[in-house]
Amino acid sequence: MAAGASAPKRRSAARWRWLIARVLFMVMLGAAVLLLVLDRTRPEMTATWRAVANDSLTPMLGTLTTPVRWVAAGVNSIKSYLIVRDENERLRAENDRLRQLAERTLASERESTTLRSLLRLAEPGVRVVATARVVGTSGASMLDSALLTAGRDAGLKPDMPVRDAGGIVGRLIQVGARSSRVLLVTDVESRVPVRVLRTGETAIAAGLGNGLLELQFLRPDADLRRGDQVLTSGHGRLFPPNVPVGEVIDLSGERPRLKPVAALSRLSYVLVLEPFEQIDLLIDPPNPPAP
């Protein structure tokens, strides 16, 4: 009798559990949609939550990347041992080329210093705020970004430019206490004001989300060739001028495409720079010409 009475009771409890689970699921789906909307409309609010989440992830990634770095270092050692002879020849040729280039650069620099002193123009020096290790990338998400092991504690702020030995990497978009996220120049939401080194033509380098960039707002009759180097122009008051951004690799499409010069797929250490807008260029305006 007791067993017969408990069976409907159990069924009723199971039905309630099923109902509560469904309601909770719908509530969570609603919360997810609300988060999506908030993320687009109030990014400053979600950026704070993301920064806290990044702070929690960074120590774990720091530990997980250690064996990865050991393996990468081992592979690199073996690779350099195998190609040491070819590498020596290549480096010798490059050394000769660089020596000639250095002589020409020295002469240009002397001339430039003289002209700058005549104009009383201050050197647009770039101040490094911090050197940070890259412990994470967004390899499975829709955002081209990297996670750094330095944050507010190291003096970092949103929108600071980031570069590696090759060139511009991106700019900071989220800054936590001990970590920060860089929006890479190849992300679809990234825009960098640039100029072509050979011709001085200015344009905007926009990320394509597939590891490449394209040049936008370039004059239609601009003289551009494959292999042209593209540098930051210093416009937009964020990225310092004359930092390499990319190299023109494709002129066949509607817009020229660039390959980034920074090693975005194997970032290890990067420099976080002060935004260019904070650097005063003129010490003192030059004297007006006599009437």
């Binding site: 689970a21 969570m28 949609v33 908030l38 499975a140 394509l208 989300g209 797929s265």
Partner: protein, 180 residues
């Protein structure tokens, strides 16, 4: 419900809690691995390890990965990988809900059939993610990256499932844990 009164009851309770939380806990490091700066030399995308693991647990035993737990994991991925907040939360939740409703299909089929069906689901999810992300960002994103990621995920599935099955027998096999 009977409250635990003796040592055996407490052991049963702890065993149940361990059994219920282990699948969830095992997916967390997989999501962290997706954020590691390691990927194919020619493309920066990693396979969807977290999503594949959620699929595995749901098709093995839906009670171990309810849609609510899957949504929490999706939210964690959104935070850690910087994707639009809430997007993977929805994807994980709907995937777990859909698969748990089809559990009888997966239990009655050999591995290669299940793998094929999950592969089709992964491709469909990649396409929907591409549509959703393009709409959210207001840009026409390249579809190739999403499909390549789906392909990588499908290729990684047998190895990942084997490793998770190993964890299942090592960590969750009751007879083994009791030394029988």
């Amino acid at each position: 419900m009977r409250l635990p009164v003796n040592r055996d009851d407490w052991i049963d309770l702890a065993d149940g809690a361990w059994r219920a939380s282990t699948p969830f806990i095992l997916v967390v490091p997989l999501i962290a691995v997706m954020a590691l700066p390691v990927h194919l030399p020619w493309h920066p995308w990693m396979p969807q390890l977290g999503l594949a693991a959620v699929m595995y647990w749901v098709t093995i035993k839906p009670e171990w990965m309810p849609p609510l737990a899957a949504m929490v994991l999706g939210l964690l991925q959104d935070f850690w990988l910087g994707s639009p907040l809430g997007l993977m939360m929805i994807v994980y939740g709907l995937t777990a809900a859909f698969l748990s409703a089809q559990i009888t299909f997966f239990l009655a089929r050999p591995f290669h059939i299940g793998w094929g069906v999950l592969a089709l689901m992964i491709v469909a999810i990649a396409f929907l993610l591409w549509l959703a992300t393009s709409a959210i960002l207001g840009q026409n994103l390249p579809l190739g990256g999403f499909l390549l990621q789906a392909g990588l995920t499908i290729l990684m599935m047998p190895l990942l499932f084997f490793l998770l099955a190993l964890c299942l027998t090592r960590l969750l096999d009751r007879r083994r844990s009791l030394g029988l």
